[in-house]
């Protein structure tokens, strides 16, 4: 399982420190993955 840890809360940090996270997330699109493997729909999570 991949995992990325960063520090937030300051403005104007290094350039686009979220690039790796966005790449990791977009590389495995869960809805696509779910439809591909025909997995059961996720357990009904309460909406935020």
């Amino acid at each position: 399982r991949s995992r990325i840890l960063i520090s937030i809360g300051e403005s104007f940090g290094s350039a686009d420190k979220f690039q790796k996270i966005n790449q990791m997330v977009s590389s495995t699109d869960w809805s696509l993955k779910r439809s591909l493997d025909g997995g059961a729909a996720p357990k009904p999570l309460k909406r935020l």
Binding site: S11, F12, V25, D29, L45
Partner: protein, 147 residues
């Protein structure tokens, strides 16, 4: 020959470091311009409306945003003291910081992508110290090193 070899390696290493530091400096210049433009824009808006916006309608820096499709189900757990949060997403999302938002708002005059027109470049030059101006011109012409 060996000494030449070592110097060649040293030269390559320095070139790499200089390239990285140039992109770091370009990023700092863009952030300075974006922040000054944001302050300028808000000051003008408040002057025109002769009032400050109510606190719950604005988002002060620093912040980050997470955007995701409307279909995404987000499960959120929060500790009582709000020091800890846990989110579970069942779909893709993107995370961006405030600097990225300011750039997307056009407040860095498109310098991040080398699309800064002469008019904007003239204004941008007034927003940074003289020593930084050569870097500005380079960025406006598209010589932006990706960090």
């Amino acid at each position: 020959a060996q000494e030449c070899e070592d110097l060649e390696v040293e030269r390559q290493r320095r070139l790499e470091r200089i390239k990285h530091k140039q992109s770091q400096l370009q990023e700092l210049i863009m952030q300075q311009i974006a922040f000054k433009n944001l302050v300028q824009r808000n000051r003008q808006a408040e002057r025109q409306s002769k009032s400050s916006p109510s606190p719950n309608t604005v988002i002060s820096l620093p912040f980050i945003i997470i955007n995701t499709s409307k279909r995404t189900v987000i499960d959120c757990s929060i500790s009582n003291d709000k020091f800890e949060y846990l989110f579970n997403f069942d779909n893709m999302f993107e995370i961006h910081d405030d600097v990225e938002v300011l750039k997307r708002m056009g407040l860095a005059f498109g310098l991040e992508s080398g699309r800064c027109n002469p008019e904007q470049l003239k204004i941008a030059r007034t927003l940074v110290p003289k020593a930084m101006q050569p870097y500005l011109t380079e960025m406006a012409q598209g010589a932006v090193n990706q960090p």
